[in-house]
C-alpha cells in the first residue's frame, strides 16, 4: 500500500511517499506566507520523485505545528509520535529520539516495542532552537550549510551570554564589530545550543541508542558537540534527519487511524 506523510513544521514543509515501510520519495521547502501553495508543491514534488500519481496514495497523514493546514488528510498525528515511529522503524534499537527542529527541541523516549513513553520539550522559549542558530549564522553571514566547516576551524569558541535568540543575534553582531572571528562566534553559538539540548537530554534519563532528528541534526558540528557533552554516540539513520517527521506520518498512514495514542 502507498501512503503519504506531510510535516508542516515551523521552518520547513516536508513530504514523504511511503510504500509499506520503505521511503519512495521525499521533498522539502521553506515555509512562506502562502502556506497552502507550499504544501501542495512539496507534496507534488515528493510524488514526482517517487514516480507515483496522487490517486494511488491510499492515505495521507499530516503532522507538525501546522498539521491542520494540510487539506485532504485522513488524520493528523503529533510530531513526537511520528518522529519516534520513524526512528524505531529505521533502527529498532533506538530508545531515545532527540528532535531539534526550527523552534522546538523535543526528546522522546520509546520502549523496546516502539511504544511511546514520554516526551520533554522547550515550551517557554526559543533559546537553543534551530532558529537561534539560523538567526546567528545569518547575522554573521555564514550560510546555514557551511556552519560546520566554519565551526570546525574555531580555536577559541566565543561564549554567548544571551539566552534569548533575539538578543543573541545582536550580541553576535556586536562581537563581529569588535573584530572577533566568525568561526569562533558560530562555534560558540553551536555550543550554547548543544548545551541546551544536552540539559533537556539529561532530564529524561535517556537510554541508548539515541537518534537525532530535525534540521539541527544535519549540522554535523552540532551532533558532535552534543555527543561530546552527553558522552553518548548517536546512530545515523538512512534517511535525512529533517524528513523523519514526514516519514513517520507516512508510516502512521500505513496503519490507519489509531484508536488511542501510541506508536
Amino acid at each position: 500500500m502507498i501512503s503519504a506523510g506531510i510535516d508542516v513544521g515551523t521552518r520547513f514543509v516536508k513530504a514523504c511517499i511511503v510504500k509499506d515501510e520503505a521511503l519512495l520519495g521525499c521533498a522539502i521547502e521553506d515555509v512562506s506566507r502562502d502556506i497552502d501553495r507550499v504544501i501542495g508543491r512539496v507534496y507534488q514534488k515528493a510524488l514526482d520523485k517517487a514516480g507515483i500519481s496522487k490517486r494511488h496514495v491510499k492515505r495521507l497523514v499530516s503532522t507538525g505545528y501546522g498539521a491542520k493546514l494540510v487539506k485532504g488528510k485522513s488524520f493528523s498525528m503529533s510530531c513526537t509520535h511520528c518522529v519516534a515511529k520513524a526512528a524505531f522503524v529505521l533502527d529498532p534499537e533506538v530508545r531515545t529520539v532527540l528532535d531539534c527542529g526550527g523552534l522546538f527541541i523535543t526528546i522522546t523516549s520509546i520502549d523496546e516495542r516502539g511504544v511511546f513513553e514520554r516526551t520533554l520539550s522547550n515550551d517557554k522559549c526559543a533559546a537553543g532552537s534551530g532558529k537561534f542558530l539560523e538567526m546567528s549564522a545569518q547575522a554573521i553571514e555564514i550560510p546555514f550549510s557551511s556552519i560546520s566547516q566554519y565551526a570546525e576551524r574555531s580555536k577559541e569558541p566565543y561564549l554567548v551570554s544571551s539566552n534569548c535568540a533575539v538578543f543573541a543575534e545582536s550580541e553576535v553582531i556586536t562581537q563581529v564589530n569588535y573584530g572577533r572571528e566568525n568561526t569562533d562566534i558560530i562555534a560558540g553559538v553551536l555550543k550554547s545550543i548543544a548545551g541546551r539540548a544536552a540539559t533537556l537530554f539529561e532530564r529524561i534519563q535517556a537510554q541508548d541508542k539515541v537518534a537525532l532528528a530535525g534540521g539541527l541534526a544535519t549540522v554535523t558540528a552540532f551532533s558532535s558537540m552534543f555527543e561530546q557533552m552527553t558522552d553518548r554516540k548517536t546512530v545515523s539513520l538512512p534517511i535525512p534527519p529533517q524528513n523523519l517527521g514526514a516519514f513517520g506520518a507516512g508510516l502512521m498512514a500505513q496503519q490507519g487511524k489509531p484508536s488511542r495514542g501510541g506508536v
Binding site: 501546522g66 526559543a126 534569548c164 533575539v166 538578543f167
Partner: protein, 261 residues
C-alpha cells in the same frame, strides 16, 4: 552654559545639546558599527544643527548601552538615572516612568527631585521590547511605525499566548496563514507587548504621574493598551520621548558643572 548628553542604545543613538535650560538641538539616528562611531556621528549632527563645535560644549555626559565607549564624554551615568531625570525635567509632576527601548524595558519610580527610588528592568528576554515589535512587524510584513496606527483600526484583535518573541512570531504566522486581518494581528502584537511590560511593572510602586519614554512610546497601540491595563493616563511630555535618556545625561552634566539650574 552649554551642556550635552549622548545616549547610545542598542538600536538608536541620541544626542541633546542644552543652553541655559533650553534645548538647542537634538538628534536621533540608527546605530553604527561601534558605540564610539555612533556617538561621534550623532553628536556631529546635533552640533551642526546647533551651529556649534565640540569646544563650545562645557560638559558632556553619556548614557545607554554603549556609554563607556564615548570619547568626548566626561562621565557616564546609568540610563535609569538619566531617564528619571530627563522625564522629570520635561515635566516635574512625573513620578513613574515606563521606558521601552530597543533591547530592554524598565519601569522607574522617582522622587520629587527627579532621583531614582526604585526600578525594575528586563534585559534578559526580548519579549516586551522594541526588538520584539520589530521581529513581529517583519513577520507581518508591515513597517514598524505602521503597527500603532494599524492596530487602532482593529475590531477583533487576535490574542498571542506565548511569551517568547520567536514563539510569538510563529503564532503571528499562524494567523497570517488563517488570513486574519492585518489590523487585528497588529493589535494582538501591541497588546502582547503591553501585557509583558505591565506584568513587569507590578513589582515597583506605581505613583501617579506617569510618563512613557523610549522608542516604543511612539507606538500608539502599545501606549493605549498599557493605559487601559494600568488604569492610568500617560502625561504627554513636551519633548520627544525618544531623547529623554540623552536629555537626562545633559541635565546631570548641567547640575554637576554649572551653578545655575
Amino acid at each position: 552654559m552649554i551642556v550635552a548628553g549622548c545616549d547610545v542604545g542598542s538600536l538608536t543613538a541620541e544626542a541633546v545639546i542644552i543652553k541655559d535650560s533650553k534645548i538647542l538641538a537634538s538628534k536621533i539616528m540608527g546605530v553604527r558599527a561601534t558605540a564610539e562611531k555612533s556617538a561621534i556621528c550623532v553628536m556631529d549632527l546635533a552640533l551642526a544643527q546647533a551651529g556649534l563645535d565640540y569646544s563650545d560644549i562645557d560638559a558632556c555626559y553619556s548614557t545607554g548601552y554603549g556609554r563607556q565607549a564615548i570619547p568626548f564624554s566626561q562621565k557616564n551615568i546609568s540610563e535609569i538615572s538619566c531617564h528619571g531625570m530627563g522625564a522629570y525635567w520635561a515635566d516635574n509632576s512625573i513620578r513613574t516612568i515606563v521606558d521601552i527601548g530597543g533591547q530592554d524595558c524598565k519601569v522607574i519610580s522617582i522622587d520629587e527631585k527627579g532621583l531614582v527610588q526604585e526600578f525594575i528592568m528586563n534585559d534578559k528576554c526580548a519579549a516586551g521590547t522594541g526588538r520584539c515589535l520589530e521581529v513581529l512587524a517583519k513577520a507581518l510584513d508591515v513597517e514598524l511605525h505602521q503597527l500603532g496606527p494599524l492596530s487602532q483600526k482593529a475590531r477583533k484583535p487576535i490574542s498571542l499566548t506565548n511569551k517568547c518573541s520567536i514563539f510569538m512570531e510563529l503564532e503571528v504566522m499562524q494567523h497570517v496563514y488563517k488570513k486574519r486581518r492585518l489590523r487585528d494581528i497588529a493589535a494582538g502584537i501591541n497588546n502582547a507587548v503591553a501585557k509583558r511590560v505591565v506584568s513587569l511593572s507590578r513589582s515597583v510602586p506605581l505613583k501617579p504621574g506617569f510618563a512613557i519614554t523610549g522608542g516604543v512610546s511612539k507606538n500608539v497601540g502599545v501606549v493605549s493598551r498599557m493605559e487601559k491595563l494600568l488604569g492610568v493616563q500617560f502625561t504627554q511630555l513636551s519633548v520627544d520621548p525618544q531623547i529623554i535618556g540623552a536629555l537626562g545625561a545633559a541635565i546631570f552634566a548641567q547640575k554637576e558643572n554649572g551653578n545655575h539650574d
